[in-house]
Homo-oligomer: 247 residues x 2
């Protein structure tokens, strides 16, 4: 059996759990090679500013992964979605993947790469509106959305469900069940406000304030500029593809 | 309000999700300073051999954290439980913590430091028997066990529940509920074999085989040697404390 290469995008400002949840599920797969990819190998500071993860391989070294996983970020989703090197890698690698996947606002990065056009997809609840601007059909209430080989998951912790689901698809139900037992994934959250449909108005206001508080004024500015660029590029691409289609 | 220092033990061979689950819950706390501690700052290779995390501070720089969090490991729990420098730091720091916590087999490291003697505690299901040799009272079916300021959680993914629970204790229910919404922690595992009581005989055999497969022969040997040393030290300490107590 050939080794299955799993490439996790490791970018500055990423939310660690988005990547580490699925990583922990997938790493037990037989004959899998996991790697953390970015422009070049080296340390990546995550969005807390204190946790550093290592990118192990460059885009160039990772031309044809079997699986791509893109996690989200609070302060750097749009700046990554505006990173042409990252987008070009995603576009090229996606052509030959078995699965192209995202967690949380990682789907906006897939969207900016044009991978979600016409596809059912999901995202962190805060990003659903932006998702539709990339031509995706947001599936607001689903934890994991599959459209062909593209699998998108809801916010942060949904990566654990995505990862476990993928283990089942790749290695069969028995392996996934054993993985779930190894990781003792029998969640018992002490509260029950993890979905917008279960949250109070106060929970929603508090959560929005918390997320705003997690992004510096400088990063917020950079995200706004990058987001505008991504949106403009997206609109212009659509206009150009329409005019190119005319006789 | 004083800044609350949260020290997460970062050791070679650690299981990343054990630490990153609670980290992602705790990092949104107001006035909290998170750090990853080890003998010295620098890169730490986790148990997959491909994910590298950064230790940001040394034990020496972290004399009096408010919270300690110790995660588990497949190949290096016992070698860490035999590391006198780590144990001495845990013993000293524990004296002044507000909370001393563990996830998965991290409780065995707390146990080796003598922190669990006479305490209710839990662990990954595979470590429950060892837990009792440290004088703890294993609580096999609980996801999170509190005994005074010592909080121990079940295997790997239980760290998310531990982290969220701690946010509630530290910053109140409203903050915890908002954190849960931010992280969209509304788990929907695609299978239901995450607890020993829900797993089939085959699931259990498969999981045991998977975990054995995740540890190299060399690491398994080192763990056996370290484990024996830890157990012996533990027994001898008890004998010595009994004879010291005699008139």
């Amino acid at each position: 059996m050939a080794v299955m290469q799993i490439a996790i995008l490791a970018y500055p400002g990423m939310t660690a759990l988005d990547a580490i949840g699925p990583y922990e599920m997938l790493r037990g797969l037989p004959d899998a090679e996991l790697r953390f990819v970015w422009h070049e190998p080296g340390p990546i500071v995550t969005d807390s500013g204190v946790l550093v993860l290592g990118a192990t391989h460059s885009f160039e070294e990772t031309a044809a992964p079997d699986i791509i996983l893109v996690g989200g970020s609070i302060p750097a989703t749009m700046s990554t979605a505006a990173d042409e090197g990252a987008l070009n890698w995603l576009r090229r690698a996606h052509q030959t993947t078995t699965w192209t996947t995202s967690v949380c606002s990682g789907s906006l990065i897939l969207g900016a790469a044009g991978i979600l056009r016409g596809k059912d997809a999901t995202c962190h609840w805060a990003g659903q509106r932006v998702l539709s601007t990339f031509g995706a059909n947001p599936q607001r209430d689903k934890r994991i959305v599959r459209d062909g080989k593209v699998i998108t998951a809801a916010g942060v912790s949904a990566g654990l469900d995505l990862g476990l689901w993928l283990v089942g698809e790749i290695a069969g139900r028995a392996r996934a069940e054993a993985t779930q037992l190894c990781i003792e994934y029998d969640p018992r959250p002490p509260f029950d406000t993890g979905h917008m449909s279960k949250a109070s108005a106060r929970n929603k206001a508090d959560a929005a304030r918390m997320m705003t508080g997690m992004i510096s004024a400088r990063d917020a500015g950079a995200e706004l500029v990058a987001g505008s660029k991504v949106m403009w590029t997206n609109v212009i691409d659509r206009v150009r593809s329409r005019s190119a289609a005319k006789p």
